[in-house]
Subunit: 233 residues, 2 copies
């Protein structure tokens, strides 16, 4: 079966966490909105049942699965991208914590109103970003670091990567894009997490993808945005 992935075409955003799992897993999919555009995405989404709350969503035959963590739970089970049993619950727990971190990173530039412009909530964004850099970022990165350091195989649950390892890579990349000064200043506190980032960057399964135009660069329309005034060492 060839899956359909539907996500906003111009940004990596939340869709990228799904795309990385599909690409690294060698799973056949079509990136529908990159072929057909954002308008087609909105039309398609309105007609799907169950109706997604928001992109990304995955169409798998008659199944329509939304919410990144739910999509990855499905792909992890169907394509062995996560261990079985208690390990599967743990990997999912890490993924949900990544989702929380992603939301907070997003809220640094949209702390008040997700559908309004950044420029119209800038004073609030400055305060939110300062708190995120000082308090929340180290709290999240420290937890991921300790989880990885306790594993004996270099990946979250042992000697094979899981979908959550791929997502951790994307989270670190997004944070490095959005907060280059802050991430450079604290990188040495998280050696295992940054080693994981490098290991994913070098995965043979992903080299073709990274070299292709299927891999979208970060930009100021997405979740991770580089606004220098929100960064600082």
């Amino acid at each position: 079966m060839t899956y359909q992935l539907w996500y906003w075409p111009g940004i990596p955003g939340r869709g990228e966490f799904v795309r990385l799992a599909l690409e690294a897993g060698g799973i056949a999919y079509v990136d529908k909105a990159r072929e057909l555009g954002a308008e087609a995405l909105m039309t398609d989404m309105a007609e799907r049942r169950p109706e997604p709350f928001a992109p990304p969503y995955l169409v798998a035959g008659k199944k329509v699965i939304a919410q990144v963590a739910d999509i990855l739970l499905f792909l992890g089970k169907e394509h062995d991208l996560a261990p079985r049993g208690a390990g599967r619950l743990f990997v999912h727990q890490v993924q949900l914590t990544i989702a929380d971190a992603v939301q907070e990173a997003h809220d640094t530039h949209h702390p008040v109103a997700p559908m309004q412009y950044y420029e119209d909530q800038k004073p609030e964004a400055l305060r939110k970003a300062a708190d995120f850099r000082a308090e929340r970022l180290p709290k999240y990165l420290g937890w991921f670091e300790r989880a990885l350091a306790r594993s004996d195989g270099g990946w979250l649950t042992g000697k094979n990567w899981t979908y959550a390892d791929l997502s951790l890579f994307q989270l670190v990349e997004g944070l490095r894009y959005a907060f280059p000064q802050r991430m450079a200043a604290i990188a040495s506190d998280y050696p295992t997490l940054f080693a994981l980032r490098d290991a994913v960057a070098e995965l043979p399964e992903l080299q073709d993808y990274f070299a292709s135009d299927r891999r979208l660069p970060f930009n100021e329309e997405g979740i991770f945005r580089r606004y220098p005034e929100l960064d600082g060492a």
Copy 2:
């Protein structure tokens, strides 16, 4: 096996979504921090492996499961609180969307810094709450309403309640507590959702619990807080 539930003892908070599933499912558990206090919770959490990022967490023999949606995924499977197959993924997707709504409701009083006082982020909170009441609340409630209205059994996936139905009840109750004016003004737009709220309130499985002191009232230390200045029709 008797589970251990660990959550902050003074508030319903995120722990209540787990508690409702345990109680309605007739599942044996001990509410550890309500017996031993918040300090015992912090000590216990620091020693658990895998380490929870935050309460609530469930101890199930050697398993330690954190993140509300992950705990409910586990309980749903072990105790038949959700259907199997595609229905399980859908129920989980609804639960993840509830989690997003809960986070946004929380952020109406803590839009800038989760560990600082509400009083120190009040101007930002006024703006965030206005946007939540006008834009986000109808978006979430509308999606839940349509999901329920499409089911033919009165519950999300048919004739039996799932853990996500219980969580929808708790979400509506929390929103009614925090935003009584706004929720009263828009209630008639969501008849199926409010009927579900009533059906959970009347579930025979929950009557003993609702009458007991195990059911904690909402207060201004939790996720759903009644600050009149953040409400409005």
